[in-house]
């Protein structure tokens, strides 16, 4: 139920950090990481996941298959 950032793709530009409605993104060793416990795939906030929409490098913010897809709770 979360996105992840592929570290080798990340330029460390920080564009995603302030866009995340869950404050799930932070910098670590020059690149950015998503806290899977906080990520809601932007469901309930925006139509599109914000990190994916703003990231300058394609295929950098991707669904992390290690977690089940996020389901909004009522």
């Amino acid at each position: 139920m979360a996105y992840k950032i592929i570290a080798s793709q990340c330029t460390g530009c920080s564009a995603c950090e302030p866009e995340c409605p869950n404050v799930a993104i932070r910098e670590k060793n020059g690149v950015f990481i998503i806290d899977p416990k906080k990520c809601s795939e932007c469901i309930g906030y925006f139509d599109d996941p914000q990190c994916v929409a703003v990231c300058p490098v394609d295929v950098t913010c991707v669904i992390d298959n290690a977690y089940p897809r996020y389901v909004a709770t009522a």
Partner: protein, 553 residues
Amino acid sequence: MYLTDLKYIFISGMVLAYKLVSDFISATFNQGRFMQVHTEQLNTGSEPLTALLEKIADHKGCGTSSEGGKSSCGSSGGPADMAPEVWEKVKNHPCYSEEAHHHYARMHVAVAPACNIQCNYCNRKYDCANESRPGVVSEKLTPEQAAKKVLAVASAIPQMTVLGIAGPGDPLANPAKTFKTFELIAKTAPDIKLCLSTNGLSLPEHVETIKAFNVDHVTITINMVDPEVGQHIYPWIFWKNKRVTGIEAARILSEQQLLGLEMLTAAGVLAKINSVMIPGINDKHLVEVNKAVKSRGAFLHNIMPLISAPEHGTVFGLNGQRGPSAQELKALQDSCEGDMNMMRHCRQCRADAVGLLGEDRSAEFTTGKIDEMSEVVYDAATRKAYQELVEAERMEKVAAKEAAMAGMADADVSDIKILIAVATKGQGRVNEHFGHVSEFQIYEVGSAGSKFVGHRRVDLYCQGGFGEEETLPSVVRAINDCHAVFVAKIGGCPRDELKQAGIDPVDRFAHEFIEESAITYFKEYLEKVRSHEVDHVTRGDADIRQGAYVSAA
């Protein structure tokens, strides 16, 4: 260790400063002497300074004023076509005044990594210390690190008058970091001019803050005013929490850019427009862009050549989109000149560049070195003294040019114009050895006078004392449209090859002022043409250097 580094930075900065004013003070490193000059200047009171400013203001910047009004450069005028308060803003700004760029330096601090649009000429993954392009940077800084770096650089390079935030992303996509940096610098170094460079998407919402922080120069990159054109330049924008693509993206971007420009004009903030010339995509369209920005009060238009090579990893680099030739670029700049100031001295510098335009001293001021400094004392007095000397030098240069022009008799009126490549390291003088040139400055001279029309990067001919035979042809290609090259010194071998290529190598103006020398040379050239000693032939086109700029260091 720390102290040694600090000393090195300080001394190297001061040595450069002294080199620059070597005609005024002895070349020896003598603080007492320097201060004496400073005191004498100050004792004369404010009257000379006022007179000085008027004189500089009278000077038409760098251009000939014959072709329908304004000159070719940033700060063309003075009272005649520019309000005094505008002149005050641009006279020490190397980007807004061609004339000032020979004397004053700028620095960029890379505090703004995030961007809100994607451009086909930019790839954010690419990052190399040897690369000199916008959007590329070696390390990003926090606002606090940036403020400290500014103080260190300002104290080492007294002619550093301008602090810009230009990325490597977009300053207004990082508003908190950008404005925090401005706030810190305004407190500790209030004499430094602040400016920023933006793609314009978020500009309208920040104009008020820009004004509040006394940022009096804003550059907007506007590559199109027609979304049909824009869709081929911008694949997407991030707008209101959505990625918008295609024509819609270009339409929103253009609307925001032009609205932002109008708001800046209304707020009294000087706006410069940067446009990237992309042959086949927006080259013809840029004339429309020029009209659109002119009518909305832009102060200066800077049309730059596309930098495009496969190794940059950009969309344009990978699909083989070429940049313009020197002649194509100049022709477009000339056609936009009319009554709009055109900037031709842009070096398309990195978002962490330090120094005079055309040089990059950022390697001297890395974060590691800055962090090691315990405390940086801002030396405002030395800066002021130095800058007063620079003003005196500028005045002398203007006088020399006027004197040379006065000798241009009515009989000398001719349609002939020639380009001259100049080897210089600043101050508006012919003061560089041919083999040490990493970029030539190009001047156009005719009966109406001389003007700066551009610059050409070249690979260093001289590496460790030996001329590199392979680099000479590339140097020739870069200045192939020039009739002459002015140098302080040149070796026998390149001299002969230049002659063979039809370019006259001239070293007799060594250490003289460039424009005065160019006018003198032109008068003699015209005389030779009249007496049929030489045949005037139009020169061919020249290359704009692509790829990495490798600094001399």
